[in-house]
Amino acid sequence: MTQPIPEDDLIVSDWYRDFTNSGVGATLTKRLGLPRPAVLRRHEPGAPLLPGPAVVGTAGEGRLRDPLTAVLKDAGVTLLSPVTADGGTDGERTAAVLLDATGLRTPADLAAAHDFLAPALRRLAPSGRVLVLAEPPSEAADPAQAAARQALEGLVRSTAKELRGGATANLLLVPDGAEGGLAGPVRFFLSGRSAYVDGQVVTLTAAGATDGQDDDRPLAGKVAVVTGAARGIGAAIARVLARDGAHVVVVDLPAAGQALAGVANEVGGTALQLDITAPDAPERLVGHLRERHGGVDVVVHNAGITRDKLLVNMDAARWNAVMAVNLQAQLDLTQALLDADGLLRPGGRVVCVSSQSGIAGNRGQTNYAASKAGVIGMVRAWAPALAERGATINAVAPGFIVTEMTARMPFGTREIGSRINSLQQGGLPVDVAETVAWLAQPESTGVNGQVVRVCGQSFLGA
């Protein structure tokens, strides 16, 4: 009676995906021309980074080929030459296709990208990964170069939509001087941790090289705080952070204490019952972290509530409650952590949970979307200040994630919500958690001020 229910039991099974992947279902859905969502490759501790070989190509004279190759070799990835991938018939299917497009100078150079990608994608295995590395258009030498770089975004996003079988395509922008931070992001996008991250653009910033990390326990020795951790996505974040080696302080409302204690005991962490909107909440959180842990390495602002109503019908209470929990508390707690001398340790990581609604907007969620958009603004504004202390702040924006909350949605809404994305299925809390955990890693030091959507490339707000 004291054991928490495992998260998996709470998730409504994706009957459609299971059905379409069954023998009869597969035949039927194929004939009807219905989408056939794939079973995504997710991270399993101890598994190799990729289940098969990778192929690396270039468009123009790229500067990342060598560091990229080094990263892949370090991770034990077998590299195939593009030629084999292109024409050979004996080559196995590739698990990842990487394109170094840092050498682009004009749109004409994009032809090389096409020449490499087209045959390579044909040989891409299910749950394959396409990762294009380029430089930010904003740092281009001239308009032609900026055009070429920006064009990649259209290329990658469209590729992501064309891919099937759970494969994803993402774009990593690596400005000059940011090569040192390449390893972490590359590994993330190739790994099962990014299963539901698709069609995204992440821009690295120049940052000092890290000491490297144990990829199975990248957070070993770290202290992490997760708010709203009693259930759902928050509990999943706590589990993944703990799996990656962190001691997790799980925070939730006192009223959620029983479930919270269950999560804490499951992950070997500690429970802190705290209403984050209470006036003394920042002080109490700071005091707790200082007294019990002497500091904190990872802060995950996950707590959030919805109070949906059309704007014209929304009362002040609904508006204020959502703002207080979803935005103001994140501001106040972060400020307090930054103000507390030395509390946020060097290499600190702040990860804020935003939402697809904050990007695309959602009918009936003016308050929620406003608060979640506000989070994005906050993250971008704070990024430089955190960078100065060797810390980072980023946001993850979940799309349709299958949780207890979505299980209560009307059937139609839920089914549509879960299918209107490139992966044709809803994500799982663990997908959000994996992205949070990646942003929390030491090797994510070059990822700062970013908003990473975990939405399977949702059609909303894309």
Binding site: P254, G257, L272
Partner: protein, 423 residues
Amino acid sequence: MTRKAAIVGGNRIPFARSGSAYARASNQDMLTATLDGLVARFGLQGVQLGEVVAGAVLKHSRDFNLTRESVLGSQLAARTPAYDVQQACGTGLEAAVLVANKIALGQIESGIAGGVDTTSDAPLAVNDDLRRVLLQVASARTVQQRLKALAGLRPGQVVPDLPRNAEPRTGLSMGEHAAVTARQWEIGRAEQDELAVASHRNLAAAYDRGFFDDLVTPYLGLTRDENLRPDSNVEKLAALGPVFGGEDGTMTAGNSTPLSDGASAVLLASDEWAAARDLPVLAHLVDAQTAAVDHVHGGEGLLMAPVHATPVLLARNGLSLQDFDFYEIHEAFASTVLATLKAWEDPAFCKEKLGLDVPLGAVDRSKLNVNGSSLAAGHPFAATGGRIVAALAKQLHEAGPGKRGLISICAAGGQGVVAILES
């Protein structure tokens, strides 16, 4: 040389009214959940502690090893030893004293003291005659012997004995005893009701300011003590009829504790153990004293033993009754608290019964049960000690170093346990 045991923190589940939210929970369920909440609060998963000591007043025979079984079901290391104690309502505090003493002697470095009680899942005893017949049947070796034993049964013997909340040697319920004391000390109705209202008000305020955020873990959907009535007032209480002491009695359901279900636990440790784990030291358990009175033939109040224990404790520690920043006097009944206070102020009583030339004197009521007590929270007998120890330790910690608190808990059988905590 001995050291003082540190109180690191505590946990309890909200206390429920009898037959309500925890009606289906057993003592072991509640104690296990409470231990797990404590484990979660202090990251003790898989940790082997020195020992866990707890008990229940109303206990099933199957729960002979209640605490050990609870430990085995908890997230603590299975190698953590445990034993049960029972000193009626003094169980929880006595358990804390026992753990603290072993820590003080260096026999253990850490331990949990607790208590649990359910009046909803209380053992139902078979009629004594039936029980004897059944025992004979069980020990019979042949069918004939069994049948012979069963043949001795009569219909009247098959009726179960409902547990009576009565003192075995007097046949009086605790409330009736308290009513005798209330009459003896001329405790008025109004002052009892006022004390009850203060208890509710203080407990509600403590909840509202988040005081219990790190002392209570919700259980089975209950997030606050079920008996708590924040809107309680003297007018409402005045309307209640007496339940003890006859028609002109002063004790009502409003100024007496209700039957309750719940559990509590306190984490104690040496300073070194706490420091090594970056755990806080809220307060130290300085000293404790138990006493008993002869409520059967001595003409003394059943619940007045703490009155006798306190001067002994004070003398040993060179303290006066006024040398405390907070007082926690368990509110078995409002009249019990008031009679206790009155006795300490009474020169004749202090002289004749306590052998004191000068009475102990008055207690500053603004320092009494500042975060509410049993009248508002409820009183699952063995769980009350842990509730008080953890809450007082936190209160002292908040007040700053060097603050001192006195705990006084009366218990059935004419017993009392008192203790001093210091931050």
